[in-house]
Point group: C2
Chain length 143, copies 2
């Protein structure tokens, strides 16, 4: 875990997330060109999107197709119509504790300010990219 | 390896690469907030940049500080002054073979069209993001 006294102790990237305009085409792209295994499409109505995971040996690539042009991912896709890398996700053992410690360390949390459950049931939050050198970082409780 | 008959067989992301305006500040950010180990700064004169690797258990994050505003990464930073996620890198056992097969599969390679040695000596090439759903994908020979 590197240093467990850090606000958000993590030594694992859970996934890299890529916004795409066409989820099936993106799944085919990774399957056909790299021989990757791509999981089933998961509907995520809470976030108005559909996702699928490219399952690599060391990490997952999350492919996200927004269904709502007004959502955060929908707006990102409007700015990047072909698609693009949207965020990285670090895993931490205690997401609620990490959210409190992140706030105390001056890192803003997007939305309501605490954790929320993801489609998988694990707690997560997003750090404000302006506090993270331009990178959108999701923090997710360890699987 | 998933499917070894794919043009660029890969089941590993070697790294995720993030452009940053200040390499030391970025290294401190990952060290202080996540407790990560960050390696020494590596000068890469061939690419006019300085890099450092955040060494996670399953993957590396490559932090890149361009030294030349006219370079590809320098131009990316001009568009994203705070920094941002720049590319992902897949590992494949035979980079030269993958470059030929990628071309045959209709995936354009940036620059000279074949592999070149990276700062670590391993062969690599970059696929055109327009052929990869907006994502810049580096292909690097397995370590």
């Amino acid at each position: 875990m590197g240093n467990a006294t850090a606000p958000i102790p993590s030594d694992v990237l859970d996934h890299v997330s890529i916004a795409v305009p066409d989820l099936e085409a993106a799944a085919d792209f990774y399957r056909d060109n790299f021989g990757c295994t791509v999981g089933d499409v998961i509907e995520v109505p809470a976030d108005n999107m559909r996702i699928a995971y490219v399952e690599l040996a060391n990490i997952k690539i999350e492919l996200m197709q927004p269904l709502d042009a007004g959502s955060a991912v929908g707006k990102f896709l409007a700015r990047n119509p072909s698609g693009g890398i949207h965020h990285i996700c670090v895993a931490t053992p205690d997401a609620d504790g990490a959210a409190v410690a992140a706030g105390a360390a001056g890192l803003r949390i997007l939305g309501e300010g605490g954790t929320r459950p993801g489609h998988h049931g694990r707690k997560l939050f997003f750090l404000h990219p302006k506090d993270c050198m331009g990178t959108l970082i999701e923090v997710e409780e360890t699987d």
